[in-house]
Subunit: 321 residues, 2 copies
C-alpha cells in the first residue's frame, strides 16, 4: 500500500493526477487522500479532506497518517497573489513552511524512519527578465511577481529540509499548463488556454496580447506524468539541485492559432477576438519564452513535441467526454 | 535627522558600520539604534536595545520609531545554522519575515508614506557548486547549506516587499570578510581570517585546508562601505533585481600566505600550521571561488585591489590600536 496525499487535490491538476494514479497503476495499492478548500461535485473517487492549508494546525493533521508521497499543488494563482498580498504569502509560502515543520516533527518522532517524498509544483514564474533566448538550467531565479517569489522560497526550503534528510523532495518548475479545461481562472496566463478552449467549444475568446508573444507550454497530461515520475525517481541523480526546469513547447500565440486552424479550421479560429489589455501585456512581458531544460530531459522528463499535440490532448481528453 | 537601525549591531560588522556612520558623516544627523542579543563592553557609543530577533514581537518594537534606514546584519553563522537547524531558520529567515510584516504594517498605517530603506547582508553562500570559473550575475542560487538557503529566501521576500512598495530594500551578497579582528567564530570560513590574524599577533594558526583552496574576500572596511553605499543608492538602477554579487578579491590560501610574508616576513608565516580537517574541507569545497560582479562594479561598489591591501587594512585598523 502507498499512502498518497495530494494538497490542492480539488484543483484541475490534482484531480487529473489522482485519476492517473487510480487508472494507470503508477503506485502499488494507492490509498489517496485529496486535500483542498473544496472539491468538484463529480470529482475523482477518493478520500477527501477539506480545510485551509494556511492554518498552521492543518499540516499536523495532514501528516498524521504518515503519507509516503505528498504532492503539494495547493496555491493561490499569480493574479490573485498580486491582488491579495498577505493571502498569497500565507498560502504559497507559509503553508510549505508549516508542512515541512510537521514532516520534520514526524521524522524526528519516528527516529528518522519517516522521510516522505514531496513533489512540489513550482513554476516558471520563479524567473524574471531580462531573459536569454533560451533559459538554461543555471539561470538565476529573479521573480517579478509575488507568486514567483513565493514558489522560489518554497524551493529553497524544500531543498534544505531534503538535504538534511527530513524529507526527500523536489520542485518542478512546470510550464504553463495548456489547454486547461473548464472555466478561465484568475491566472494572468489564463488566455493561453482560453484562445484554444473557447473556440473549440463554439465560444468567442478574447486575446489580450499581440500574437507575437512567445510562451512555454505543456499539457495537463504532461504535467501529471511529470508529477508521478518525480514521485518515483531516484533523487540522488539531482546532485542536490532539487528544482527542475521541465520540458515544454515554446511557441508564439500565432503558432498556437495556426495549430488550432490545422486542428479545427478557420471558422473556429475566427472566434478569437483580439482585444489588447495593457495590464496582461505588462505581466506577460515579464515571463519566460523558451527554455533549454537539459537536466530534466536527461533525467527522462518528456512533454509534447508540438502545440498540435497539445491541442489533440485537449480534444481527446475533454471534448470526447 | 536620519533614524538608523542596525540589527546585529553588537557584532563585528555592526559595530564598525556604526563607527563609520558616526565618524564619516555618511548620513545627516544620524540617530543610531543598535539591536542585538548582547553588546561588546567597550563598544560604539550609541543607543542599544537587547533582545531576540526571532521573537515575533520584537519586529514591532524595532519599527515603532519608524527608522528610515534599517541594516539587517543579524544572523546565526553557517556552522551553527547547520548544527542547530530550527534556530537557523528562526533567526536567519523567520526574523526577516516578521521584520517585513512589521514594516508593511507601519507602511499601511502611514498611508503609504513610510518606506524604509532596508539593507540586508546576504552571502555568497546562496551559491552552490558546481560553479563556473567565475560566477556571473545571472548564475543560479542553489545553496548547499541551511545558512545559504535562509539568506536566499530572505532575498526573495525583501525583493518582493520592495517591488510592491512596502519597503525599498536590497540584498548584498558579501564576500567572506577578511581579516576579521578578535576571536575565531563558529563560521566554517573562520580560518581564512585566522591564518592572517593569529600570526600577526604572534600566535599559531591552524590551516585546515590545502593551500590550493581559492576563495572570495573583502575587508571589513569594504563591507561597511558597501553597506552605506547600498543605504544611499538609487535602487531604481537595480531594475528589480535587488540582490547583488559584490566585488572582492579572489585568491588561493597560498596567495594569502604570500601576501602575509610580504607584509610581515617568514617568521610570522611560520606560525601557520597545516592540519587538514575533513569536515571543513568538505564545506569549503562547496563554496564559490571567484566572481565577475559586473553589475555591482558598474554601480560603483568597490573592494580592495589585492590581498596585500586586505592585510594592510587589518594592520592599520586593528594592530595600531
Amino acid at each position: 500500500m502507498t499512502r498518497i496525499l495530494i494538497l490542492g487535490g480539488g484543483g484541475m491538476i490534482g484531480q487529473k493526477l489522482a485519476q492517473h494514479i487510480i487508472d494507470d497503476a503508477v503506485f502499488a495499492h494507492p490509498q489517496i487522500t485529496l486535500f483542498d478548500r473544496a472539491f468538484p461535485p463529480e470529482g475523482v473517487t477518493a478520500k477527501t479532506l477539506a480545510g485551509d492549508i494556511s492554518d498552521p494546525a492543518t499540516a499536523k493533521t495532514l501528516i498524521a497518517d504518515r503519507p509516503e508521497v505528498i504532492f503539494h499543488l495547493a496555491a493561490i494563482v499569480s493574479g490573485q497573489a498580486e491582488a491579495e498580498f498577505a493571502l498569497g504569502w500565507d498560502v504559497n509560502m507559509m503553508a510549505m513552511w508549516h508542512l515541512l515543520g510537521a514532516v520534520k516533527d514526524a521524522h524526528d518522532a519516528s527516529g528518522g524512519a519517516y522521510v516522505p517524498r514531496i513533489v512540489f509544483t513550482s513554476s516558471i514564474a520563479v524567473f524574471g527578465g531580462p531573459f536569454p533566448d533560451k533559459i538554461g538550467d543555471n539561470f538565476l531565479s529573479a521573480p517579478q511577481t509575488s507568486y514567483g517569489a513565493q514558489k522560489a522560497a518554497c524551493e529553497l526550503m524544500l531543498t534544505d529540509f531534503s538535504r538534511k534528510g527530513f524529507a526527500d523532495g523536489l520542485s518542478l518548475r512546470l510550464p504553463t499548463i495548456c489547454v486547461r479545461p473548464g472555466k478561465a481562472n484568475a491566472a494572468a496566463s489564463s488566455f493561453f488556454s482560453g484562445i484554444i478552449r473557447e473556440p473549440l467549444n463554439g465560444v468567442e475568446a478574447i486575446l489580450p496580447v499581440p500574437d507575437t508573444v512567445r510562451h512555454w507550454h505543456a499539457s495537463p497530461r504532461a504535467a501529471t506524468r511529470f508529477l508521478t515520475k518525480a514521485a518515483k525517481m531516484d533523487t540522488s541523480l539531482l546532485n542536490g539541485r532539487r528544482a527542475l526546469n521541465l520540458p515544454g513547447i515554446s511557441c508564439t500565440v500565432e503558432e498556437q492559432i495556426e495549430a488550432l486552424r490545422r486542428a479545427a479550421g478557420q471558422s473556429v479560429v475566427d472566434l478569437i477576438k483580439p482585444q489588447p489589455d495593457e495590464t496582461i501585456m505588462g505581466i506577460v512581458a515579464g515571463w519566460p519564452r523558451d527554455f533549454a531544460p537539459d537536466r530534466a530531459i536527461a533525467l527522462g522528463f518528456k512533454a509534447e513535441d508540438s502545440f498540435d499535440e497539445i491541442i489533440s490532448v485537449y480534444m481527446r481528453d475533454e471534448l470526447d467526454a
